[in-house]
Structure formats: C-alpha cells, structure tokens
Amino acid sequence: MDRIIVCVKPVPDPKTWDRLRLDPVTKTLMREEIPSIINPLDKHALEAALEIKDTQSAEVVLLSMAPDSSLPVLREALALGADRAVLLSDRGFAGSDTLATSRILAEAIRRLAPFDLIFCGNFTLDGSTAQVPSQIGELLGIPNIMHVSHLEFGDSGRLVVTQKIEHGYVKLAAEPPVLLSFTKEANTPRYRTFLEIMAAETREIAIWTNADLNLDEALIGLKGSPTQMADLLLRPKTRQGLRLTGNPEEIAQRLVEKIQQLGVI
C-alpha cells in the first residue's frame, strides 16, 4: 500500500452530554466547555491503517474537518503512529450537513491522491448518521463497504472484508481503491503513554481552508446543504412520574396491579 487516508472526527465527550443545554431564545446548543475526544470508532479505523503500516508499509494520513480548537485531539491521533495530518478548517464549512461535509472531505481526498485505501469509523457519536462514509465513496466514484468487523489480505493484495449484518456476516473481496468503515470488533486500538502524546505536541498539522480546496460556496456549509433544521426541541416530558413507595411486598402488589391494567398479562 502506498497511502491510506484515515478520516477522524473530534466529538464532544459523551460523558458530558447530559450537561448540554439548549438556548431557549436562539434554539442553539450551548456547547461551551464541553471537552472533545477522538470519535471512538475512528480509533479502530486508525488502528486498521497502522496494522497495515506495521506489516507492509504505508503512509498513513489523518484527515479531519473540525474547528482549529481540535488540534490537540488530532495530535493525540498523530501520536498513535500516523505520518501526517490535514485539518480542514474554514468558517464556510460550518453548518454543512452530511452531503456538504462529504463534498469537502472528498475534495480534500482528491488533493491527497494517489491513495489506495480510505478508512473511517462506522459512525460518529455525535451525529450518528453513519452517512458520510458511503457519501465520500460515491462522490469519489470508488466502492465502499460499511460495518467492517474484520479485514485481511488475500492473494495479490486483494482485500477480504468481513461485513457485520443482522444475525450474521457477509464476506466480500475488494480491490483498492476502496473506502472501508470499521466497527469496534475490527481490532483493539493501540494506546500511547502521556509522554508519547506530549512528544507529538510539536508535530506540524497542515491546515487547509476552502482557498486550498476551491469548492463552490453554493455546495458547502449551510447553503450547500440539502437538509435544513426547521426546529430543535428538548425532548418533551410526557411521563406520569409516579413514585411507588412502601415495603417491597407492597410495591410488588401495586406494580403488578398496574401491569395487569395495562393488559400485557
């Protein structure tokens, strides 16, 4: 393999999600002071690339579309063994839906050509749409496979890919260039010590704006997104919120009466 591009996304740490608040006036999420982590499945994508680098040599390039404040998170990913990183950061990218995001990532990947493989996490924790991998593949005109739970190499560089499906799996044979998105079963990501991560502090990360990609502004950001958010609401509370108290036997009796009223038994 010559070059493997790994897409990584910094996401708000899920441990802090219950602290997310909605601004009642502007209906935007108040995200201040929410720390970021590397999207967990992206670490499996990176590990898959690093394993190939370990055994058959390859240049591993990290690619991320995120604000500049995500640089520390990218450095951590660099410390794991990637060769270089490109951060796509431009105010004009803000508000992109999955299709506009995929256009931006696909254009950056074109500018990183030639490449053999593109690896992604199967979904990100925040949006969780799982749409970007297939859309990058489509926009680049290369095949993609989702839900990759195992990857091995067959004869003459052919990839044998195990795809997890409901109650089973599909085994596929693929040739580069191909985009794969990984599940957590694929591998166990390596880790680095704090000192090794510190050593990556000085690593340069290339920052590309739309001046580098030269995409039509009508195709990116809010304007370039076919989907629009019409409304955003905190999930309404509709439950009765009754508390049953008393000793366990009393509670059991009243709960069973309720279950009986529901008619499930």
Partner: protein, 340 residues
C-alpha cells in the same frame, strides 16, 4: 403515476423480507392519506416477485420490481444504480429506507448520487402544508429532537430504525406491479460477495416484544441478570440491556437498546439498574409505559418513567416475581402466550 409518490425500500436477503420495510409501508400509508399520494414498494432481488404480494397486503399501491439474477445477493453498487435509475424515471417525492446494515449503506450512497438530502434514524415523519416531509431526528443521544426538512431537493429521503413504525395488519388489497428494466448497463462493479452467513435467531427479536425488561450497570453481574431473565420470562417478554452489561458479557450485543443498538417500543418497559443516560433513552422512549427501578433517587431514568421505584433491585424483584407467580396461578390473569 400522476399523484405524488411515497416510496419504501423493501429490504430482503435470500428471499427473507425484513420487517422494517412493512413497518415503513404503514407510515407511508398514513402520509399518503394526508397528501393523496401513491405508496410504492421497491423490491430488488432474484425470484422475489411473491414478496410483492405481502407489500400490497401491508399497504403498497404499487410494487416496483427489479427481478434479476445479478441482484442476488445484495451488493451496494448494483442496488444503487437500479434505485437511482428508478428515481430518475419516476420522480418520487419521498424515499424511505430502514436503518439496517443494508439501508445504512445504501441510503447515503443513493442520496449522494441523486444530489439530495437524507436524514438518519427518524423517530417520526409528518407532512407540512407544502408537502415537505418533516423528519424528526434525535440528537445528542436523544436529549434533543431536531425537525429536518429538505425543501429544495427531491426526493426527500429518510431512514428509520426497525421497530419504530408500526406495520398495518395485512388486508386483502389490490395493487399493481411495475417491472423495472434491469439491462446490460447495470453497474456490477465493486466488491464481490464471497459468502453470506446468517443464523436466524431462535428467540423473538427484541424489537417485536410486547414487554421488555432491561438491565444496566447497576445489575452488578450475571447473578442479578438472572432475575431479569426470570421477570421477562414470567411476563412473556424479552431482556434488553444498556452498553455496560454488553461490554461486561452479561448480555449479548443483540440485546443492546439505544443509539448504537436497537429501538424498542413495547407496551411495557421495565428498566432495572439503568441510570438513564440519553444514549439509552433514545432507544426506549417510545415505549407505551415505562417502569424504572434504581437505587439512586436522582437517576435520570426517573425523568422518563411513568412509575419510579427507588430501591435495591435485590429487594424489589424477588417479591415482584412471587406476586406475579401467585396471580398467574391463582387465575384472574392469562398466562403469557395464551391470549384472552
């Protein structure tokens, strides 16, 4: 087809129809009634024409059938090319797919090819006065719900997880079949299938259970887990889990409820030892009735519960099991599995 069309992708593997397609037909029927639209089911495969009858019985007016040896087994690029061509020919207003392994791969690829919008994992779908599809999507693990529109592009596309929509009872209805031409120009490039392995689960799928008893980290181990299984057994239900019990090996991946797991909408959900983090709640909040048992009175699960019980499950569950057994034996209740 003169009227606006609502399309539903009818997923099948090896001739086995996935329920999510029928569930989406139920929703499509409802949307069609509100907008005087035609509901069409998209069926791709080899020798699958008979499945079209089920689609009609479950609410389709039309079956768009692509029956060709090269469409079995499912492969992403041939399927994308057939669906894209059909959309360009018939101009559907709406295309709905299940958020299954297949649908999650296929829907975004198709949307990008058609240069249109797609929303993922909708929990509800409505139409506004202008015929725009309002797509309700949970965000941030379900803590917020966003309404997504796709005003300037067609078709409007959305995926929905299995178990979210309700399928209609099959009824004798009439519908017609339109054959989609699959010719030599079919894109057969891309990865080749070496093997498909599937094991049909012996148990009823979690999404279909009328009672779900779910456990979380608070169950402490396999010992406590047995109580959940006993309770589910007595109520004729299924056992679900949050992420930690799956990671710990008390429960299987198939049992996970939530953002990266399954969506359940049973008549009764009982959550035990579950704190109620939003990424679990998004998978169970559509349940008809929610009971929460947790030792921590401040656990967020109580916010989304109809009945909350603060206490140690080790003290709460045994008398509950006894009470149910007593009533089952003493009559007055129908044992699970025997309907009244």
């Amino acid at each position: 087809m003169e009227k606006p069309q609502i399309w539903v992708f009818l997923e099948q593997r090896g001739g086995m129809l996935h329920d999510v397609g029928l569930e989406l037909l139920g929703k499509a029927r409802e949307l069609a009634q509100a907008s005087d639209s035609v509901v069409a089911a998209l069926l791709l495969g080899a020798d699958v024409a008979a499945l079209g009858d089920r689609a009609i019985a479950h609410g389709a007016d039309v079956v768009l059938l692509a029956d060709h040896a090269l469409l079995e087994p499912y492969r992403l690029l041939p399927y994308t090319s057939v669906l894209a061509q059909a959309c360009r020919e018939y101009h559907p207003a709406i295309v709905l797919l299940g958020a299954t392994a297949m649908g999650m791969e296929l829907a975004p690829r198709l949307a990008a090819r058609l240069d249109t919008g797609l929303s993922a994992h909708c929990i509800d779908l409505k139409l506004d006065a202008d015929g725009n599809l309002l797509q309700m999507v949970p965000g941030w693990g379900g803590g917020v719900v966003a309404t997504i529109k796709c005003p300037a592009h067609r078709p409007q596309m959305a995926t929905v997880m299995p178990g979210v929509m309700k399928k209609l009872e099959p009824a004798p209805r009439s519908g017609r079949v339109i054959h989609l031409a699959v010719g030599e120009d079919l894109d057969v490039s891309g990865p080749q299938v070496l093997e498909v392995y599937r094991e049909e689960p012996k148990e009823r799928p979690l999404e279909a259970a009328e009672v779900v008893v779910a456990g979380g980290w608070g169950m402490g181990g396999k010992e406590g887990w047995k109580l959940l299984e006993e309770l589910a057994g007595l109520l004729g239900g299924a056992v679900g889990a949050t992420r930690p019990p799956v990671d710990e090996g008390w429960a299987s991946e198939e049992q996970m409820i939530g953002q990266s797991g399954k969506t359940v909408r049973p008549r009764l959900y009982i959550g035990v030892g579950i704190s109620g983090m939003s990424h679990h709640v998004v998978g169970m909040d559509g349940s008809d009735f929610v009971v929460a048992i947790n030792a921590d009175p401040r656990a967020p699960i109580f916010e989304v519960a109809d009945i909350g019980i603060v206490g140690d499950f080790r003290e709460i569950l045994p008398p509950l099991l006894d009470e149910i057994r007593t009533r089952l034996q003493g009559g007055g209740m129908n044992p699970p599995g025997i309907s009244a």
